[in-house]
Symmetry: C2
Subunit: 149 residues, 2 copies
Amino acid sequence: MSCITTLTRTLRQRGYRMTPQRLAILQALHDVGHLTPAQVYARVRATGMTEATVYRTLDFLAENDVVRVADRGSGHLAYELAGEDHHHLICRACGAQQEIPAEVLRGMLDALEGHTGYRLNAGHLTFFGLCPICQESFTAEPVYEIVGG
Amino acid sequence: MSCITTLTRTLRQRGYRMTPQRLAILQALHDVGHLTPAQVYARVRATGMTEATVYRTLDFLAENDVVRVADRGSGHLAYELAGEDHHHLICRACGAQQEIPAEVLRGMLDALEGHTGYRLNAGHLTFFGLCPICQESFTAEPVYEIVGG
DNA sequence: TTGGTTATTGATAAAATTATCAACAAGGAA
DNA sequence: TTCCTTGTTGATAATTTTATCAATAACCAA
């Protein structure tokens, strides 16, 4: 059974429906990886879909854990398919990105769950910092600038 | 020397200025703890300040590490004074919040710095999950809803 | 396959956020 | 104190995001 068929069934069990608009947006995210709402719209506007629908659908998919939200420091939220857990490390100076495997943080997250009793939704965390190269070029009192991405 | 005097001097060293608008916004954040841009504006509009100025000033203060941004899951970013490091754990079902002392995550963050060579800006992280009470009231296939705060 | 229920969409307006630019004012210099 | 430089603000427009609601279409039942 295809991935889409499974997803459709899951949504229906929850009282929702699968629509061509939702499929198109999922396809766009699958093709590119992660996109802002504006970028999604640019890719699906040919279908006649409204911008409002893009925002609504992304919200809907995120609330149903089909996609996940990631604040990538550009001032605009990005969305991506919820797949294997991983995290990101982004340099605030040059924008370089590095992927962090889920295992690296798993221990800490487990400890946090044990300590607080919460069950965490930490599928995708983003950390910000200075990469080794940019650390060199900054003086004693750096003024950080958010770099768009 | 007062805290404001120190801050003013620091900004000036970086080529910026202290203004009554910036003071008013800092005062509001000091009084309440954390506020969204709209909430800040509600508290300072009596001074005649523009909404645009509120957004600009919050951005400015965040880029200079005077305040920090926290995505509190309401869909709108919140701002708070940058003080002693701490983190938050928020229940996605009922909105309950729990503070996490910095020490709990320090070890993990240090390890991450060592592993990647990055210098992290992780003054305030927010984790989302289900609190112990809400875990009881959810069935096998929960549909999470973001709760505004 | 057909009909009926209702979740979803498009169209539109409203609200929130960002960009632009001339006028103003903070802070240093004389 | 007064003048000058230029960072900052207010006013305004543009853009992004959210809310509203009637029309549409997905999906189940017969």
